[in-house]
């Protein structure tokens, strides 16, 4: 990969600079889990970033080959655990499409609402950690305060706070909690009043802007070439929202704008995510009053057998485009399952956009790429 930086002009003095290696991770506060980065550094300037993956590889794709379709769903929320609901939904949609099963409208709407709540929860966590990575520790707690409300909603309805397992092929595990609508309606104005607080604490801060503006610039061509998706790609002006281009569940009936920016730097990625939170609130608001009555699932066979063939379903998680590719031979187990994780593609461009920056830039850029390591390692 070519580096976009100018070599420092070599002076005739005896002081020679030497590149050295540094191991960032697998235990490091900024790598959010067990990502290991092998950095080649000249002083403070980064010459090469080489991610070393696999510290949390659990071979989920191989496990899927031995499990039934109902069981696979439960493995997917261990991928990107912050978008667990959306991951579950992807597998369920893929299986339902393969079976040509039409789920009730009620299921579609509830899935979409929960999906958008998941997105907000993920983005609030990201926002807190983003602040922490650039050194503003307070944002962490502000982010978690609002995420807690969403987690409580999840807990009430799904019984779990992180790995929900609420979706099953054919619908939902159970009906929503009677309090669900009320709680969500409470949450929307609460979060609307708290989001400007986020801007006051971090977005408008001059140091924060200096740290992120013009750092880690990704052009639109590179974004497409590296297979970037989600807010990372949208910040470069590449319209790639799966919710817009390939709407699933109830997303075809809601109005929302795709958050786009054209700068492509870390600040743009930050702003896109903030804008996405506003949009998610809009989506939820459009749907929450119109949850249709009806069944919360359609009956499927106890043993689901998919017809022979290839099935692909893409959804938009908080991190980008998540794809489920199932090759079926007509048995009760899939022949091959591939999860297209947004994180791996997004991570692959890290070297491209951080070379030439400082160590501090790397941390800020990595925070805006927003990786979840289990999603990358699978």
């Amino acid at each position: 990969m070519e580096t976009a930086i100018k070599e420092p002009t070599t002076s005739k003095s005896n002081f020679k600079s030497e590149e050295y290696f540094i191991n960032m991770g697998p235990q490091h506060p900024a790598t959010h889990g067990v990502l290991r980065l092998l950095l080649t550094i000249d002083g403070e300037i980064i010459k090469k970033v080489d991610p070393d993956l696999g510290y949390i590889h659990r071979s989920i794709e191989k496990m899927c080959e031995k499990n039934s379709y109902q069981q696979i769903v439960h493995l997917t929320d261990r991928l990107d655990y912050l978008s667990s609901h959306i991951n579950n939904e992807a597998v369920c949609l893929c299986v339902e499409n393969a079976l040509e099963l039409e789920v009730p409208e009620r299921v579609k709407v509830i899935r979409t609402i929960l999906g958008e709540l998941t997105r907000i929860a993920s983005h609030t966590l990201w926002w807190g950690v983003m602040g922490m990575d650039v050194g503003a520790l307070t944002s962490y707690f502000y982010g978690f305060r609002d995420r807690e409300m969403i987690n409580d909603i999840f807990e009430e309805t799904c019984g779990a706070r992180l790995t929900m397992n609420y979706n099953i092929p054919g619908g939902l595990m159970q009906d929503i909690h009677p309090n669900f609508v009320k709680r969500v309606k409470e949450f929307i104005p609460h979060f609307r009043s708290k989001l400007p607080e986020y801007d006051r604490l971090l977005t408008g801060n001059i140091i924060f802007q200096k740290r992120t503006k013009g750092v880690g610039i990704l052009t639109k061509e590179d974004a497409i070439n590296f297979g970037a998706s989600g807010p990372v790609a949208r910040a470069s002006g590449y319209s790639c929202d799966v919710r817009k281009h390939h709407p699933y569940s109830a997303l075809d009936r809601v109005n929302f704008t795709e958050a786009l920016d054209t700068t492509g730097d870390s600040f743009a990625r930050y702003q896109v995510r903030i804008a996405e939170m506003w949009e998610s609130l809009n989506i939820i608001e459009q749907l929450i009053d119109n949850i249709p009555e009806g069944d919360f699932k359609v009956a499927t066979n106890a043993v689901i057998k998919l017809p022979k063939g290839d099935f692909y379903q893409k959804v938009e998680t908080a991190r980008g485009e998540f794809g489920v590719y199932i090759i079926s031979t007509g048995t009760k187990n899939p022949y091959r399952v591939k999860f297209r994780s947004p994180g791996l593609s997004n991570l692959s461009l890290l070297n491209h956009i951080t070379v030439g920056g400082k160590i501090g830039d790397l941390v800020a850029t990595m925070a805006t790429i927003d990786i979840v390591v289990p999603d990358i390692d699978r």
Partner: protein, 344 residues
């Protein structure tokens, strides 16, 4: 034999014993003060971050940091195999001793001052620049790349910001005409220096607070530790009490920076408008009150601002603070020359 009795005479006559006693008292008081500053920081942080903070050990958690210190004392001292053992062990003492030494010259009240030398400010600036040697030694000798990067950043940062601290204090020295801290306070009986020197004094104060925060290596200038970048920076390889020395020194340094600002800008132990002039012991209260307001200001910085990048840090110093400071110095000289100061 004669020489020994000479030495004994010298001991008695020069009150070395007295000084040792004072030093012991200072050490105890300020070690405890350092611990309570840590507690204050945690309480302030909790307040900023919608948390409760430590509240279990003792009444309102007052003994939390003492319990922490006891834990650190009892911890095993681990270190790297290939460290330069001598320098590695020496470094924390450099840092803690220099920060405690600086405390000697502060006039807490009119009479409570351990060491009133006529070059007080100069002494403070000189002492505070020794601390960085400890950080450099610690980072370099622990044979860890993260620690080394942290130490190098610290060197760059402290050397740069020392200039601004020195120059902003020098601006005020033009006004006082003396380096002796007790005299600086005497001068302020006609109005605190920040009032006397008005515009240039306020500029000097702002520069002083920025560069003072940078000199204590606190956020938003905590490049040296930068936990999201370097783990723990220069003290990555330290544990137990040696780590505690670094940690405590940071808080005592914060107190020192605030105390210098109190003395030089806000009239030290002088009460506002002389309201408690008849009660000299109230001077201690005023001194500490002013200092803690400034300490709180520095904590406020830390829990609000993100961290700067190393090159932005240097840009701020060399391209903005230093030129402003130099112009400010001339401005102050002109104001003093034309007698434009405000006297109450």
């Amino acid at each position: 034999m004669n020489s020994i009795s000479h030495i004994i005479d010298w001991f008695i006559n020069t009150e070395v014993l007295n000084m040792a006693m004072i030093a012991l008292i200072y050490l105890t008081v300020f070690a405890v003060l350092g611990l309570f500053l840590v507690l204050l920081e945690r309480k302030v942080a909790a307040w900023f971050q919608l948390r409760i903070g430590p509240n279990r050990v003792g009444y309102l958690g007052l003994f939390q940091t003492i319990a922490d210190a006891l834990k650190l004392v009892s911890k095993e001292l681990t270190g790297t195999e290939k460290a330069d053992k001598f320098l590695y062990n020496l470094a924390p003492y450099f840092v803690i001793v220099t920060s405690l030494m600086a405390l000697a010259v502060f006039p807490f009240t009119k009479d409570l001052q351990a060491f009133d030398i006529n070059i007080g400010i100069f002494f403070l600036i000189a002492i505070s620049s020794i601390g960085v040697i400890g950080i450099l030694l610690g980072g370099w000798s622990s044979n860890n790349k993260f620690a080394l990067i942290g130490a190098m950043r610290s060197g760059v940062q402290t050397v740069s910001y020392e200039l601004s601290v020195g120059l902003s204090l020098l601006t005020m020295v033009i006004l006082t005409g003396s380096l002796q801290l007790s005299e600086i306070i005497e001068v302020q009986k006609g109005g605190w220096l920040i009032v006397q020197g008005h515009i240039p004094a306020i500029i000097a104060f702002m520069i002083y607070m920025i560069s003072g925060t940078a000199e204590t290596n606190r956020a938003p200038f905590d490049m040296v530790e930068a936990e999201s970048e370097l783990g723990a920076g220069y003290h990555t390889e330290y544990s137990g009490m040696k780590f505690a020395y670094f940690f405590l020194a940071e808080f005592i340094n914060m107190f020192i920076i605030a105390a210098i600002a109190t003395t030089v800008f806000f009239g030290g132990w002088l009460s506002p408008f002389g309201i408690t002039e008849s009660l000299p012991w109230m001077g201690l209260f005023w001194f500490l009150a002013k200092t803690f307001v400034l300490v709180f200001l520095m904590m406020w910085f830390r829990w609000t601002f993100p961290r700067l990048r190393i090159d932005q840090l240097l840009t701020l110093e060399w391209k903005y603070l230093l030129p402003i400071n130099l112009v400010n110095l001339v401005l102050m000289a002109v104001i003093v020359w034309l007698n434009l100061t405000i006297q109450i």
